[in-house]
């Protein structure tokens, strides 16, 4: 079973909505995933930057609607903007987790070193879910507050029992892998930049194949091409299975029946 941990919902940011109805959008996403042979998708939310409280609810409702339209193949994360009041953020996170979302997504509204992430991470730890956090080492074009892997390491050190997935292996590079190597509570997804050869093997060598997850960053990227990074890497079949689905299944808490498929 192949699970993609990093998928953005196809949305029209100006309209603040999905491209079609939840059912149409889900069908469109799954048709593209099917062409690449990907079985399940984890949807990250966020159609536009710095959403306010109403916007956050809108985004998470859309993710919930997508997931409910295909509960057999779609999973979702609660998107939060940590500049908003903690009271709202924690209530929204509880609402989304109670409704069936599987964790939290944070982008670059706030840097991972910022104390405003701490209550969210506390809740992530308490509820035993995971956080997927954007990260990139950028020489040029860095957004304000954007986190790099050293910021993710800082967050992991503050919250050693929180499960954290650092996005974008090939954009974090070797330096990024080394930043998180000592933090057993941090995973990395395979997306980002270009498919630089050797990076998947390098991450497996430094972190172990238990801490590397397939993520595509679709629809910004191509499901099949992204899968090619893992399929084209020199791995054992057991390592490849863990990266393509086994590790994600554990983080998403998929039941054993789904795992065996």
């Amino acid at each position: 079973m192949i699970i993609d941990i990093h998928v953005h919902p196809p949305a029209v940011p100006a309209k603040r909505s999905l491209i079609g109805t939840p059912g149409e959008t889900a069908a469109r996403m799954l048709a593209a995933a099917d062409r690449a042979g990907i079985n399940a998708l984890c949807i990250l939310g966020r159609f536009w930057p710095y959403p306010d409280e109403e916007g956050i609810r809108q985004i998470n409702d859309a993710t919930l609607a997508l997931v409910r339209s295909r509960p057999d193949r779609l999973y979702g994360l609660c998107f939060l903007n940590p500049t908003l009041p903690a009271r709202f953020l924690l209530a929204e996170l509880d609402r989304c987790l109670d409704a069936g979302l599987r964790g939290v997504k944070l982008e670059y509204e706030v840097n991972a070193r910022d104390a405003r992430l701490d209550p969210i991470l506390k809740k992530v730890t308490e509820r035993g879910v995971f956080l997927l956090h954007h990260a990139w080492y950028k020489t040029v074009g860095k957004c304000a507050h954007e986190s790099d892997p050293s910021d993710i390491a800082h967050l992991a050190e503050r919250h050693p029992r929180a499960q954290i997935v650092m996005a974008h292996l090939t954009a974090c590079g070797m330096r990024g892998v080394l930043d998180i190597q000592g933090f057993e509570n941090v995973w990395v997804d395979t997306s980002g930049s270009q498919p630089f050869s050797g990076m998947v093997e390098y991450a497996v060598n430094k972190l172990g194949s238990d801490r590397v997850l397939f993520g595509s960053d679709a629809p910004i990227r191509d499901f099949a091409a992204q899968l090619g990074r893992v399929q084209g890497a020199q791995l054992t079949e057991a390592q490849r299975r863990r990266i393509l689905g086994g590790n994600a299944a554990r983080l998403l808490k998929l039941d054993a029946g789904r795992l065996s498929q």
């Binding site: 020489t139 954009a171 498919p195 191509d222 091409a225 020199q234």
Partner: protein, 263 residues
Amino acid sequence: MTPGFIDVNVSLGTWPFMDFRIQTAAALAKHLAAEGIAQAWVSAVEPILFTDPDVHDEQLFSSLARFPSLFPVKTINPLLGGWRASLERALKVHRVRRVKIHPNYHQFALNDPRVDAMAEELVRRGIPLLIQMRVEDERNQHPLMQVPGVPAETVSDLAANHPALKVVALCAYRGEAATLVAGRRNVWVDLSFIECQDTLETLCGEIPADRILFGSNTPFLYTRPAVMKVTHAGIAARIRTSVACGNARTLGSRIAPKMDEIL
């Protein structure tokens, strides 16, 4: 499976910021064959940074000689004195039929008269010009080695000024493809750096399918992602085949086969 890919974007050598697993022509030939690639156009990596391309090109050409699927590409820096002699030797001795330039790393503009002189020479000899738009994702470059990509408009202008020159832009981004190809019958792009959902279907809606070449940028990038952009594309088999090999074959049709007598 789409058989017999022609990969127009392959390198051999070492790059200081990466650790290539493929170190020899034998390993490269074996790897590409396993990925379904029947023919690859291979240039040396070192001339990107090393002053005289001949030093590493000579090693490249002799190492490729035993592998009929690996076609050598000569790197030229038209700002260097002696490039004509260097090209002549590559053509005569090593039967090279493809030339690559790195305008950004070698610090010349494509409207430099020395580029025009080289372009005229390549037209005269029926040799296509491969232009490496970039080597790395600019966002991830070493802070002390930031090298911007080659401006797409300047490639398009060069092609306009030399309509008989066949120009292949390697490692262009999707956003540059239309600028490169629009209004030009002599410009092609490779797939290696172009990616979006359903890459090939989308790109075919933006530029003519007959201008798209299969390029993997091996060993800088994994080979498989480029292969899967083609094999998994929801598009007519005829177009998949054109991109995989047909377009490159057409582009090279006036190029003498590797083993033929030339000049």
